[in-house]
Symmetry: C2
Subunit: 386 residues, 2 copies
């Protein structure tokens, strides 16, 4: 429970003179501030005090209904009872751990995987079983081996994974849904970057694929979404889509955790999405983040050592760079911070001591110009250690 050394070091990364590839921050300059103001005005005028009052633990009915409609289609019917509003996706991860995990339960994760899922579930006594992943996400053979350990949960980020930026292929999605079902594992599909695709074809979600099974949306897949990457993270509104029975259990736990998510933020979000703001704003995020990703890929090509490699994500906010074997990301960090550039050592996201020579690089927060300068600085630090 001690904040680790890396987190302490990275506190300086918020200084304006530091070019930070460390966080996972969206570009705040793209947030629809004026429309948020119009929405706040409309909510307070129309709903008044009720928008500032206590509300239902499960979420305000209008937002649950909107999400149910948005994620339903002819072959996949989501009902409002399948939706729980959470205080960001992080709360969904926490609640799922509290409801599903007992001391010693096995949890299959990609290796590397999203750090905060490990941090959230470790206190519940989860035993993490890493499954290997490659450019197409978690490998089916490795998943199969992991399932032999009778995991309670298989956790993964199928689209533009954090930290690698890779996306699970359609074939593997089908296999994963059916293998986990046959082995009685709950799939937790953490999907915050779904809307942030810059090229290539969108793939069916795991919950949609499971929904094609006879169980429908009452399946073994729990899907997590958020408005943090498509509208604004500071409102802290995310959601879970899952079988109604599980939603009910998660709601009981949420009631003890924080009663409910901010009524006002939920009404703001509902007003924004009803006005079609996602259709205006998400394309802006996509266009700008694509430019930034391309700026980072270009700068890596230009400045990074010949023997370094990196992933080329089709979307999302991160890529993972792999340096020559003798280099250590954690050891590089202090020198990088001295040069006013920050990243997260990839080791943080790995299990079994892997990934020591990797760096997670965020490309959504800095401008293309600053990205180029930052990568050049970082390359200089690396070349001094080579």
């Amino acid at each position: 429970m001690k904040r680790n050394a890396v987190r302490e070091l990275l506190k300086v990364a918020t200084r304006p003179d530091v070019i930070s590839f460390a966080g996972g921050l969206p570009a705040a300059e793209l947030f629809p501030v004026d429309v948020v103001h119009e929405a706040a005005t409309a909510v307070l005028r129309r709903i008044g005090g009720r928008s500032l009052q206590y509300s239902e633990t499960e979420g305000i009915p209008g937002l649950r209904e909107w999400l149910a409609r948005r994620y339903s289609h002819s072959q996949f019917q989501v009902r409002p009872e399948n939706v729980l509003i959470t205080s960001g996706s992080q709360q969904a991860i926490d609640l799922i751990g509290r409801v599903l995990l007992d001391e010693g339960n096995a949890v299959v994760v990609e290796n590397p995987t999203y750090l905060a899922a490990l941090t959230a579930w470790r206190p519940f006594g989860a035993k993490f079983i890493p499954a290997e992943s490659d450019g197409e996400g978690i490998r089916t053979d490795s998943l199969n081996d992991a399932l032999a350990e009778k995991p309670k949960i298989a956790y993964l980020v199928p689209n533009f994974q954090n930290p690698r930026g890779t996306t699970l292929s359609l074939e593997r999605r089908h296999e994963l849904v059916s293998l986990t079902r046959d082995n009685d594992a709950v799939v937790v599909e953490d999907d915050p970057y779904r809307e942030l695709r810059y090229e290539g074809q969108s793939l069916a979600s795991l919950s949609e694929l499971a929904g094609l099974l006879p169980a429908g949306p009452e399946s073994h897949v729990v899907s997590l979404g958020t408005f943090s990457k498509t509208l604004a993270p500071g409102l802290r509104v995310g959601w879970v889509i899952a079988a109604a029975e599980l939603i009910e259990k998660l709601a009981v736990t949420k009631q003890a955790a924080d009663l409910h998510t901010s009524t006002f933020c939920q009404h703001l979000i509902l007003e924004l999405v009803t006005r079609g703001v996602l259709e205006e704003v998400v394309p802006l995020f996509r266009r700008e983040y694509r430019r930034r990703r391309d700026a980072m890929l270009g700068a890596l090509e230009q400045y990074f050592p010949r023997d370094a490699i990196w992933t080329r994500p089709e979307g999302g906010m991160f890529l993972l760079a792999t340096l020559p074997k003798h280099l250590d990301g954690t050891a590089l960090l202090p020198a990088a911070l001295k040069e006013n550039v920050a990243f997260v050592p990839g080791e943080e996201f790995h299990l079994n001591g892997r990934g020591r020579n990797t760096l997670r690089l965020n490309f959504s927060n800095a401008s293309p110009e600053r990205i180029e300068i930052g990568i050049e600085r970082l390359a200089r630090v690396i070349s001094m250690k080579c």
Copy 2:
């Protein structure tokens, strides 16, 4: 973890034709909707996208500083490091349980006590030790007996307790602070109603009394506060004041629980309090709730059976009525709901099977007129069972 029968029954209490004394809802018609709108406008104009961005787990610095200043005085210095912003007081209760409680730890509570603290801490394996309370709060002799069981925590609501409405006397506050210190128990002072005093003198808080000790604010008292009762609960902003070392641990747990409390709601609150809105709004709440309390006390006097008694709170939102021994609050509830009046059976708040003949009555939400009608209806239901 199953929602109980009472909660299911009370779902109908939100129907407009039901006069509900069941919830703990503030009067939404008193919320400062126009000033919230002005504050939202000011925040979005001045801070822009940053008010919608991710922010620090501990809370935005300005709000921590404001709270530290507000609760400091010449003999009690609170620093920003002593403050953690939480998603309502409920989250503070949850986080404290997660950080401090291990399976089987003893926790002293008043009997009756706040239900949601029991619900939040039961999953962590807390063993609750009820201490008797009377019109002046938790009894020192009973506390002393309970401390013999080496509790980790003593939890109490010192002002206008939920459900009884009683207030811990100054003498007992001094005794409690010193007895718990001598017995190495952490005091959790849950103080949501502090500002809602309608008569009598405000008493020093337990954290202030402990702060007079050599330890200062780094004492064994953890104090929980909230803007839910003084501004609006739908923003979900509360706080913890405690020793800096404990705040740090709570923040690590909060990071895994929901990353941070809504940045936008925190900025809204900071803008509101900086504009002096509390000084305008809290007196309105006080005046109106006092009228409602008086309406309820008057109606109880007029309509309730001669052999019923009830508490007479100097503030807060609740009182507890005790019916003749042969009556059962839980058994009365369905009949009351049929008559369109709701309450929470007092048994819910009691340990050791006590309080079966008690009813918790909220007086903050309904108008004085509806309170009179509701109590008359309730008295009719009771008289049918007498």
